[in-house]
Symmetry: D2
Subunit: 101 residues, 4 copies
């Protein structure tokens, strides 16, 4: 299990607003019920099997092209750990318990 | 006003757990009451004046060295917009209204 | 054709030196003669078919685990363009011609 | 001394070409003779004092606004090491000596 973050950014879109592209990219994840995700202000965080995440991100990257974008820059960050289970909730909880401890 | 995300990653720390470093980095932000922040599973998102954010991130980057880390990799992503106010909440709301609309 | 950059960073490795891990990751690319790559000080830049690049990056990400790393953070940035061919050389040339022009 | 990479990406610029913006950003670095830099296909790599780099990157980030861009996304990655000198050339050489060794 890996925790990843992904941002899909279309360039040359006339308007600086990209939220409709982001929303369309997120709909891809509806086809991946085995992946959990969380929308944050700077990226979408995804938890699950790393091969499935790569497959989904490749599809998310292609979405803005189907809406007419001519160039897309996508950033994928992967965090994977072998010695213990890594989850979105576990990562945040670990930091918060240190903050309050 | 800018919205940024920052990750501070110490290398060569023996243990693969880095949450105590992340917690110490977050304490820096207590000295910046003018900056709002949100902890997410893959980064800390910060909202506020861009010069103040750069100043805070420089200090966050130095924190792991003071705890003995020999190498630190920090990633800072800045999103700034001139035509309308950009906020953490506004960015997420814009996507969610497209998803439900 | 896409141009991508990838960084594979093992955490908790005792030594802050990671060049031997990076070198092992690069050897993966020998199995992808259809992908061109360039080593830079902060990442490896890869040019080629995006599906092949995703496949190769997934394998590069797994390399440090086979050398005993317990946690790996990988960053993949993809730049793809539909209106003209995007190449590593073309991207640098475009900027340099503007600088000298 | 730190080694950093920076990408400055304007959004909503009508044209998907951004090389003229990148070239203008690079001209900022002419005012920082103490910083060395290298243009790569996916980012500009900068070597030098970390406070000077943050100062320069803040200025680079503002450049597209002065050319009419309404939104700019900038990514800064910092690699700093305390146990030995980190240079652009040293980082690439370390990997290449492992590859040929």
């Amino acid at each position: 299990m890996a925790v990843c973050s992904v941002e899909v950014v279309p360039l040359g879109t006339k308007s600086p607003s990209v939220s409709s592209y982001v929303a369309s990219c997120l709909k891809i994840l509806d086809n991946y019920p085995d992946l959990e995700y969380q929308l944050t202000p700077m990226s979408t965080v995804i938890e699950g099997d790393i091969e499935r995440i790569f497959e989904a991100v490749l599809k998310m990257h292609e979405v803005p092209f189907s809406f007419g974008a001519k160039r897309v820059v996508t950033n994928l960050k992967v965090d994977e750990r072998m010695d213990k289970e890594l989850t979105m909730k576990g990562k945040v909880d670990a930091v918060q318990s240190k903050l309050s401890g």
